[in-house]
Each structure stands twice: as structure tokens, then as C-alpha cells.
């Protein structure tokens, strides 16, 4: 193949899929270490070792609460983001079904929110899926317009995992407060999935006016299988898991002490560093897009403009490369040690392209050619330069194989029918 760059003698591993999951921060690992084999006792144990584990658990809870501007007793430790979302949605729905069976969410939520909602539909709940604009944003107006007497829960993500859209959570929260006051009711509860936002955005629950908030460890350089559901005092939900009654009876099962310690440490660290890291990632991301724009023809930016973290998560870049298919690009990039993800149907279980891109009004052929790069701590300008050494050539090669030439005369020229 002409001009196809030779594979490097030493493959560089460039991880650009931080929205999928992150590596563990060394400091987090260190904080967790003692809790596997040394301080391993069950925190429910009354003996010294148990008390030691319990006290570690308590200080982790305090730490998390502090970041959220909340009281420690509002933090429920769970097995991760999906579990927290499920607990919030099923928990609220089961507890308050007799008050109403209407829930509002958005079309671009994570499946950890959408699937529980679909299950509730089967049980007779009515779910309103709010549409988004082409940048993936919902309007506060549309939330207001869809509020009903029987709305018991609103679940809207803080930052989107695919295109990085940041939702106006605080504004929506204020509107919900107004509604409750007018109607003299405690409904609807307001839940946000903040898994993607936790590393970059302010998590103060008083400023956000949320009643329930999901965060997990595996997106913030913390451990997998550990997360929280914040639950405001006075907000009532049913548990998903019954047993020994841990976590105020809302999440039974012996606490994952090392995971919880790691989660708290990770959250503390990302929140402490977020200002500087946001700036660094934003600059790197914008540099990446500038390079792509100049070196590859027929590319399109998906999601919001590349503004600061009030508009778009600073580590997120989502593009569509026309005339080629996402999985094919992914396989090639993987050969060069470059890791990212795609919204193409070929990588999904259902063979449908990304529901997020489609909800933003992207044509299917654009969604099939989408690539998501999510940057993180370890990425440097050298990483981006390495990617740009190969990505344009990979696109060229796949375009050479492709009969699709969107918007050009050449496309469909050979149809013989």
C-alpha cells in the first residue's frame, strides 16, 4: 500500500478509552493495600480488628461526604455505577409506586439507567424519554413541561459518556425544587448519574440540588466494583439486595473494604486535582482535534463544541470519519497499540449504532464511522502525535477499500440496476 507507515519497532501503548475504565492510581493502590490481608476483618465484628476495619470504613465515608458537601449518613457504598443506578431507579420506583408511576429521563442515558426504566415500563410505569439537541443537551424547559402530579423520579446524567455533553443539573434541580414547593409535595426525586463527571466537575449536592447521585470508582482511577449512591436525608428507597442489613439496610453484604477505601481515596484525588487536570486535558484534546481536522478530510465533530468543562467533559473527543466504518478503524488502531471506542453497530450487541449519536440526530452512516477518544492522566502530547502518525494513513487505506463516497459524485456511480 502506498505511503502506509511501517509498524514501529517498539509499539507505543496509547490508551484513549478512559470513559470505559481507568487504571488504578498508584496512591489509591497504596491506600487499599493494607485492607486485603492485614486489616481484613469484617467491619461488623466487635473485636479490635473488626473495629479497625469499621473505623477505616467510617473515615472513607466521611471523606466522600466531604467532597459531596453532604453528611456521612447519606453515602451508600455499592458495587459500582450500574448497581447505584439500579438502586436509585428501582429503589425509588418500588417505594413510591403508589404515589405515581411516571418517571422522566433522557434518550441518551447510560444503559444502566435505560434498561431499568424499560423493565419498569413492563411493570406499568410510564417513562418519558426527553429528546436532546444535536449537541446532546436537554432543555430545562422540556423537563418542566413534562412534570406531572404523578412524576416520582427524574433521572438525568451529569456528563455523557459518549459525547461528553454536560447537562444543566443545577438548573434542573432548581426547577424541581420550585415545582415541589408549588405542588406542596416531596416528588419527584432527582437522580443524576455522575460517573463520567466525577473526575472533572463539581459534585456538591447542595449546589446541584440532587436527591440521589451515582458515582463509581472505575472511571476515576479507583478500583472497579466500588461506587456510591448518595441519598439525601429523608429520601426513601427500597433496597435491591437483602441480607445482613449493611449500609442502613439499603445494601446488604459484607462491605468491600479495600474497594471502598480505594474509591474514597480516588475521589478525593481527582477532585483535588480537577482544575489543573481539566485544563491540561482540554488543551490536549483540542490539539488532537486540530490535528485531525487538518490531516483528515471529511471528518465531523460529534457532541458539543470543544468548550470548557461547563459544556463538554474536557477529556472527550468524538468524531465521525466519513466513508469508513468504526470497527475497522478500531482494529487497525489496535495493531499500532492505540485504544479507543466506536459507536458503530458492529461493536454493539444489538447491531444498532450508538443510541446517543442517533438521538443527537446523526445519520446512521455517520454513527457507523464514529470514534470516541477519551483522554486521561497518562496521556501526553507525544501520544497524540503518535496517533496522528497512523490514523490518517489508516483512514486512507480503509477509504481505498470503501465503495462509499458520501457527498461525492463517485458514490453510487456503479450501481448497475
Amino acid at each position: 500500500m502506498n505511503n502506509f507507515p511501517k509498524k514501529p519497532a517498539k509499539k507505543r501503548f496509547v490508551y484513549l478509552d478512559h470513559a470505559a475504565t481507568t487504571y488504578l492510581d498508584e496512591k489509591v493502590k497504596k491506600a487499599m493495600d493494607p485492607y486485603f490481608s492485614d486489616i481484613f476483618a469484617n467491619p461488623s465484628g466487635l473485636y479490635a480488628q473488626g473495629r479497625e476495619a469499621k473505623s477505616a470504613l467510617d473515615s472513607a465515608r466521611d471523606k466522600v461526604a466531604e467532597v459531596l458537601g453532604a453528611q456521612p449518613d447519606t453515602i451508600i457504598f455499592t458495587g459500582g455505577g450500574t448497581e447505584s443506578d439500579n438502586l436509585a431507579i428501582f429503589g425509588a420506583a418500588r417505594k413510591h409506586a403508589n404515589q405515581g408511576k411516571h418517571i422522566i429521563t433522557t434518550k441518551i442515558e447510560h444503559h444502566a439507567v435505560l434498561r431499568p426504566c424499560e423493565e419498569l415500563e413492563k411493570l406499568g410505569f410510564e417513562i418519558t424519554y426527553l429528546p436532546v439537541n444535536k449537541e446532546g443537551k436537554i432543555s430545562v424547559e422540556s423537563v418542566k413541561k413534562n412534570l406531572r402530579k404523578h412524576t416520582i423520579l427524574i433521572s438525568i446524567m451529569y456528563g455523557n459518556n459518549e459525547i461528553g455533553t454536560v447537562m444543566p443539573i443545577a438548573e434542573i434541580g432548581r426547577e424541581i425544587l420550585k415545582w415541589r414547593k408549588q405542588q406542596n409535595t416531596v416528588y419527584p426525586y432527582f437522580h443524576t448519574d455522575a460517573c463520567q463527571a466525577a473526575g472533572a466537575l463539581d459534585l456538591n449536592v447542595e449546589k446541584l440540588h440532587v436527591d440521589l447521585m451515582t458515582i463509581n470508582g472505575s472511571k476515576i482511577y479507583g478500583p472497579k466494583g466500588a461506587g456510591i449512591l448518595y441519598k439525601r436525608r429523608g429520601v426513601l428507597i427500597e433496597p435491591l439486595v437483602y441480607g445482613g442489613g449493611q449500609e442502613k439496610k439499603l445494601r446488604s453484604g459484607t462491605e468491600n473494604v479495600p474497594g471502598i477505601i480505594g474509591f474514597a481515596k480516588a475521589l478525593e484525588l481527582v477532585q483535588k486535582n480537577k482544575k489543573i487536570e481539566n485544563k491540561r486535558l482540554l488543551k490536549l484534546r483540542n490539539y488532537f482535534w486540530e490535528k485531525i481536522k487538518t490531516k483528515i478530510t471529511k471528518v465531523k465533530l460529534n457532541g458539543p463544541e470543544l468548550g470548557d468543562e461547563s459544556v463538554r467533559l474536557p477529556n472527550n473527543l468524538n468524531i465521525s470519519v466519513l466513508d469508513v466504518e468504526g470497527e475497522a478503524m478500531l482494529l487497525y488502531l489496535d495493531e499500532y497499540g492505540i485504544v479507543c471506542s466506536t459507536g458503530s453497530a458492529c461493536t454493539s450487541e444489538s447491531l444498532d449504532p450508538s443510541h446517543v449519536l442517533i438521538a443527537c440526530g446523526l445519520p446512521y452512516e455517520y454513527a457507523h464511522g464514529s470514534l470516541r477518544f477519551t483522554l486521561g492522566k497518562r496521556n501526553t502530547k507525544q501520544d497524540i502525535d503518535y496517533v496522528m502518525k497512523y490514523l490518517p494513513a489508516i483512514v486512507d487505506r480503509l477509504r481505498e477499500l470503501s465503495p462509499v463516497h458520501l457527498g461525492e459524485k463517485k458514490h453510487a456511480k456503479y450501481i448497475s440496476r
Binding site: 466513508d323 469508513v324 466504518e325 468504526g326 470497527e327 475497522a328 482494529l331 487497525y332 495493531e335 458503530s344 453497530a345 458492529c346 461493536t347 454493539s348 450487541e349 444489538s350 447491531l351 449504532p353 445519520p363 446512521y364 452512516e365 457507523h368 464511522g369 481505498e400 477499500l401 470503501s402 465503495p403 462509499v404 458520501l406 456503479y414 450501481i415 448497475s416 440496476r417
Partner: protein, 222 residues
């Protein structure tokens, strides 16, 4: 996925999330990273194909074009070129198909028409379950090209109009649509109806639909 399907997946212990079963065989990788016989962009105008077939669309995620040179006396395929928009297995399927029909002096048209998606899959050393539709598309592109040749040589009686039997008249849904739906993952009447609404307002079509589902599931997944 409906409950019944969930239960089946659980019972069989099938790993059905993305992440499972993504391994491509060495042959798939070989044909993906070093594709054979593809049509170069500037070669198209000078190639002088005897027949062309195009299937799919970028909106469905796959599109293929096949060009053939055919010896009109022996009906052997002398040469084949292709272009594919699609994932790794779609590209590999077309590439391997182009080799299969031209190797050893080339297949005759009748031989080539006998190639089934399973033959392509076998030659590739297998494809992940979810990727089987990619090989089907290659097969269809070849069929479209051969039909093009029949048309150009005035052999209209030989044009293959396989299937395309109308199952639900109200919705104009054919057996081909049901085949597609099965390839996209539908396994039960409910799945099919979710996708196509076939037979919903036309219950007398249901036994036939169920039979077709069984037929295609067996054909591709047995």
C-alpha cells in the same frame, strides 16, 4: 432482549455482552490487514468489468460492490475486484470470497452461485456469531453481480430471484426480511414482530413465519 431469550442465554451460559467472543481467526486478520483483489480507486474507470453487483448501504453499516470479468464461452470467472465499507469481518469476507471464486482458474458462474455464507465462514476459520451477517452480504453481492451478467447477456430466465416470497401482504414483508431479522439476532416470533410487526394484524401468517424462523435459525446457527 425478551425474557425468554434472557433465560435461554442464562441457561446456556452464553456470554452475550460486548467483550465476549470477539476473537478473529488468523485468516480473518490476514484478509483484513492485507486484503486481496480489491478495486483501487483510480482503477475503477479502466477495469472494464463484465458485471457489477452492489448491496447494502452505509446507513446499515455495510456496503459492498463486486466487479467480475467473466469468460462468455466457459462462463468462468476470470477476475474479481471488490470494495467494502464495513467492519473487519465484512472486509475479510469479501476478500476471501474474491479468492475463492478466482483461484484454480476460476469458478464457473453456476459453481459460484452455489457458495453459501457457511462456505465463506468456513474458509475464514470461523466468524463470531454476531458477525455472520457480514458473510451473507458477500454472498448477496456476488449474486447481484451474477444477475447483472445474466441481464447484460440477455439470459433473463437465469436471473436468481431466490426467495422474496411475500409473507404478510398487508405489510409487504417477504421471507428475505425474516431472514435478515434472524441474522440480526431475532430468534422468536416475538423478536421478529418487534422488528417487523409482521403478522401482528395478520394472524393467519403466523404459522408460516414461525416455520421460516426455524428454517433460518437452523440454516445459520445450527
Amino acid at each position: 432482549m425478551d425474557k425468554e431469550e434472557d433465560d435461554k442465554t442464562q441457561a446456556a451460559g452464553i456470554r452475550d455482552t460486548s467483550g465476549g467472543n470477539w476473537l478473529y481467526s488468523d485468516t480473518v486478520r490476514e484478509h483484513f490487514f492485507d486484503p486481496k483483489n480489491f478495486m483501487k480507486y483510480d482503477e475503477v474507470d479502466t477495469y472494464q468489468a463484465d458485471a457489477t453487483g452492489r448491496v447494502g448501504s452505509p446507513a446499515c453499516g455495510d456496503e459492498m460492490v463486486i466487479w467480475l470479468k467473466i469468460d462468455s464461452k466457459t462462463e468462468k470467472i476470470k477476475d474479481c475486484r471488490w470494495q467494502t465499507f464495513g467492519c473487519g469481518s465484512a472486509i475479510a469476507s469479501t476478500s476471501v470470497l474474491s479468492v475463492m471464486i478466482t483461484e484454480n482458474g476460476g469458478m464457473t458462474i453456476d459453481e459460484a452461485l452455489k457458495i453459501k455464507p457457511q462456505d465463506i465462514i468456513k474458509r475464514l476459520g470461523g466468524l463470531p456469531d454476531r458477525k455472520i451477517h457480514c458473510s451473507v452480504l458477500g454472498d448477496k453481492a456476488l449474486q447481484a453481480a451474477v444477475n447483472d451478467w445474466f441481464r447484460k447477456t440477455g439470459q433473463h430466465e437465469r436471473i436468481v430471484t431466490a426467495g422474496a416470497k411475500i409473507i404478510d401482504e398487508k405489510l409487504n414483508i417477504t421471507d428475505k426480511d425474516i431472514e435478515e431479522a434472524v441474522l440480526e439476532g431475532a430468534r422468536t416470533l416475538e423478536d421478529i414482530q418487534k422488528k417487523l410487526k409482521v403478522g401482528v394484524g395478520n394472524p393467519e401468517a403466523i404459522p408460516q413465519i414461525e416455520e421460516l424462523i426455524r428454517f433460518y435459525v437452523e440454516k445459520y446457527y445450527a
